[in-house]
Symmetry: C2
Subunit: 668 residues, 2 copies
Amino acid sequence: MNFEIKYKDARGRVGTLKTPHGIIKTPALMPVIHPGKQTLPVSDYGAEVVITNAYLIYKNEELREKALNDGVHELIDFTGPIVTDSGSFQLSEYGDVQVTNEEIVKFQEMIGTDIGTSLDIPTPPSVKRERAEKELIITLKRAKEALEVREELMLNSVVQGSTFPDLRSECAQKLGKMDFQVHPIGAVVPLMESYRYQELVEVVMASVSHLPDSRPRHLMGAGHPMIFALAVAMGCDLFDSAAYILYAEDDRLLMPNGTLKLENLYEMPCSCEVCTSYTPEELRQMEKEKRTELLAIHNLRMSFAEMRLIRQAIVDGSLWELVEQRCRAHPFLLEALRSLKNYSLDLEKYDPPYKKSAFFYTGPESLNRPEVYRHLKRMERISPSQKLILLPRSGKPYSERLYDLPQTFYKVVDNDSSAVAGTGSSRIPQEDMQVAVVDVPFGIIPLELDQVYPLAQNESPADYDEDSIKMVKNALRDYIKGFKEIIISAEVARKFALEQVLSLEDYSFQESLKIDVDDHKRIIMIADYQFGSGAGEGLFNEEVKIVKSRKTRKIRHVYDGDELIATLRASDGVFVLAKEGARRLHRYLPYPKNRVVVNEDAEPFAREGKSIFAKFVINCDIDIHAKEEVLIVNEQDQLLAFGKSILNGKEILNFNTGQAVKTRKGGL
Amino acid sequence: MNFEIKYKDARGRVGTLKTPHGIIKTPALMPVIHPGKQTLPVSDYGAEVVITNAYLIYKNEELREKALNDGVHELIDFTGPIVTDSGSFQLSEYGDVQVTNEEIVKFQEMIGTDIGTSLDIPTPPSVKRERAEKELIITLKRAKEALEVREELMLNSVVQGSTFPDLRSECAQKLGKMDFQVHPIGAVVPLMESYRYQELVEVVMASVSHLPDSRPRHLMGAGHPMIFALAVAMGCDLFDSAAYILYAEDDRLLMPNGTLKLENLYEMPCSCEVCTSYTPEELRQMEKEKRTELLAIHNLRMSFAEMRLIRQAIVDGSLWELVEQRCRAHPFLLEALRSLKNYSLDLEKYDPPYKKSAFFYTGPESLNRPEVYRHLKRMERISPSQKLILLPRSGKPYSERLYDLPQTFYKVVDNDSSAVAGTGSSRIPQEDMQVAVVDVPFGIIPLELDQVYPLAQNESPADYDEDSIKMVKNALRDYIKGFKEIIISAEVARKFALEQVLSLEDYSFQESLKIDVDDHKRIIMIADYQFGSGAGEGLFNEEVKIVKSRKTRKIRHVYDGDELIATLRASDGVFVLAKEGARRLHRYLPYPKNRVVVNEDAEPFAREGKSIFAKFVINCDIDIHAKEEVLIVNEQDQLLAFGKSILNGKEILNFNTGQAVKTRKGGL
């Protein structure tokens, strides 16, 4: 396998793809090179990989001879990795090509392509299902044939299936079982051309969710920077751009928030060499050829800058924020973004739970982010109490900013405390009282969790939109089930229109309300929230010793006597296990929960504390996220080591290269 | 007066400010130059105007001598316009300065500053009102004194008043009556530093709404590109950036959506010469001085690019879209954007009603845009009918896309048809039936208006957010008052949860519903909507002849016999008057409605069809927007000519330079 993931955010990955002519840093943009025409030296403007058309070379005798003699790299004068397409585009445009699948695959191998493509059938959107099914059979047959024909050539295998999500998924699944290196998602250009972005999301999500995580996906024909961030967030790794030159020829400038026409320009819009050296008028007066070249340079510069910005956002953990900004470029992109709420379950599994960046609320779409979905699910791990007190938002962390406690409260009348909201809540109330803050976007935040990422590391406007109010109102109505007595500050009730869903009556505390967060209760709740219901009790009994930072007065370590159990990480407020913590968690959590199971060969390395490579993993908890604390065990579930996952459960099982777990300590 | 407006959008202006050393194109960013230190040649990176500190020059003997002998332009080696500050910043930082107001104003004049500043008191945010009031008195006194002291020097006069909107307004109003050339808005840096953007909006709006429109406003200390778009949309024209160098010294990169730290960079984020020539690692390894210079170049390039993009957006009429994108950079910027809904009345007057760009919905904040507010107000100009039929959204223009009319309808029971929604609605129903489409964000669009900007030129996601649903529901509830019979498609009722606010019962049309938009009804309604209640009847009687485009089948011209009354402009679907139209409108609309009144001197020029300069206007309809059809009259309200306004009513009265009306025809 040639692909490795270095950083993750949303469904996006920063990775590397090894090819015979070098390593491609993904997500990557591949400028399209027309093999016959004189073109820009795209590598001067940032191209590290290009794509050209093998069919055009094959069809032209002169080009064919040169390619066969000198290789495709010499032909198009590019020393880095070259991807070639097979003529499928011509097939879709002209209905016919003069080459067979077998011939074109062999040809690509002969000219030294780095990644070749079989001659699939690009079924356009919105055709009759019958046609899509029929063409899919041919596409799959040719894919298989390509595998038999190729020798060492790395192969693209294109996911087709028109706009039928189930056909896309079926195709992805079948191709994924065969030995391909890259999976393009094909025939989506008509969707992008007509701004049918919501359908694009359907097609891409149906494809990526059924493709192996261990191979890059190429969103074919996507060359407008406006779509890059969203596509990467859905798990696309490669893009090709003919747009840079086609738009330039048409006197149009690509921008991450749309397209500008030179004829309408009053100012040059970016900081590239073209925009800072020429005025729009100078460009308009220029002869066509020179102008086209300059606009193509702008288009390349802008597109590569956007791709770099996206990679940076993945490393920072701020990809969602970038996507949500970019999707304001067109209302149909916003519509597409909104439709991601249909994929919460899938997206949550890929999105790392702990990030370097704070969660920034950018609008109602932020309510659909994996972080929110995850919090609501994890709240089911928390045991309910007899009594619940709900306070309005204050500064963060909430428990340290409760200077002005509210004066007026309501009590919920007729709450059905026998009803239960989730699995976690069905456990018997253990604590007398839970105090929580009600806020957007996370809904209910018990004070004990107020330093856990992203509950402390988020910002939202104080002026709530209606979607936020509705979401919190509903979350709250579900959450309070199972509590015997619920007291709500009048401010919370008013802000979230709770009288619409609850019966409320005035309430007064006998004495003035005093809030004090108990340290032991805090560590129990954090552990439950982080590892699952009851994990807190498994890790920390009544006798544990809590050590706080002298400076910040925050909990730092939890000991059993002199033995460290776990450390509360200051940056995101979750536990990092120590040896004793790993042992306790292993004892408490049933197999395969939080486990990564390595084979016999890897066992000694794991015991030594070496990091775990994906190829040694034979099983694991499919619900593990990237960046979680995991237990490394052998097939007999003996604890060997523990560490931090680099990939999620599905990825760990799928990958055969690269690290799966960064081991903290072995020797257990 | 030295300032002219060329293009307008939102409250923003693209304009020119004449100074002794050249013309400043606004909105402009002025890099801060430290007079004593070696600095970057900022003009190489796009600076056309700079700002430096006269007090620092004054205080340093060597600098002072050089400035007095050679002038400030020679001193800091910049040939373009130079603005100087007076030491107020030092006053706010150190509590004291060793210069008097009189001395520093005189000094600025002596060293050849283009725009100087008096020594105001920068009262910080959130002080006690008493202090703000006391300091404001000194600021105003010194402003007055500066006027008496200066000879030819153009003068800044800074609006102060801390975070008290009424004090800011009072200060703005008083300074506006004196002969200053530019108005900085001062002491807002602490607000920006602590992300108190919503308060910044309060301060800026309280200031600009009371400043003369004919002078540029300088948002003092605003150097982060993240805030530029919003500030320009509120009417700020000048910005100063010390940020470019301060952030560079601190290894930070300015971006339009925030700040990046070099230490966290994995990729360079933009397309400037620095970002495309160096890797983050190369910069990190570099010696401090060189690195600072390169980062400063990036910061300048990025800041100037953003400013150019903003000017472009004003020319395109897409500034709101840019602002709404930029305000997602931080939740508190989004909060600030949301707070603009408190200024709808003011913003609507400045925002041109017709733009080159389509209206793109970017989120609930778009519901607060002037276009929506204006539509709802203008709908009050439309006469109600006996019967109202409400259809769901189709493609646009709606009347041409009604392929699949809905099958199921409800009738509103117990509608109070005696209640009236607005002035317009109080007129007697004249038409039998009005058919309207219900859509986001404009609410109710009668089919007759479906080609009028922006009702045809807008896009929004099909997946409505809760704020949109609520807004449309409320607008609809108001609008239907006055109609006798209201039939609503079931789809509309469902999408906008109308059963919550209306009593509905099943309804069937006797025959299948057929929709046909009557041409005469269409021109009447467009004219009412465009010019005011009843204008349609005033312009077009029953006998007018309607001429359609052969190609598009859309209405193009309306004649009375052979005499053209008006032309319906294809791009935005509103009327452009012809001579007869102007005469009829003049007859119908009472003075001063739609009038621009010119003095005796200008009368002959107006009659000849020459454009109207602001200095000749002695009165006008204060409700005129930019880009509207206006009637040019003399003091006796005799119609001289007609044309298109370039400024709004308030601006026309305020300006003494530049064009106010582009005359279409004289000789009436």
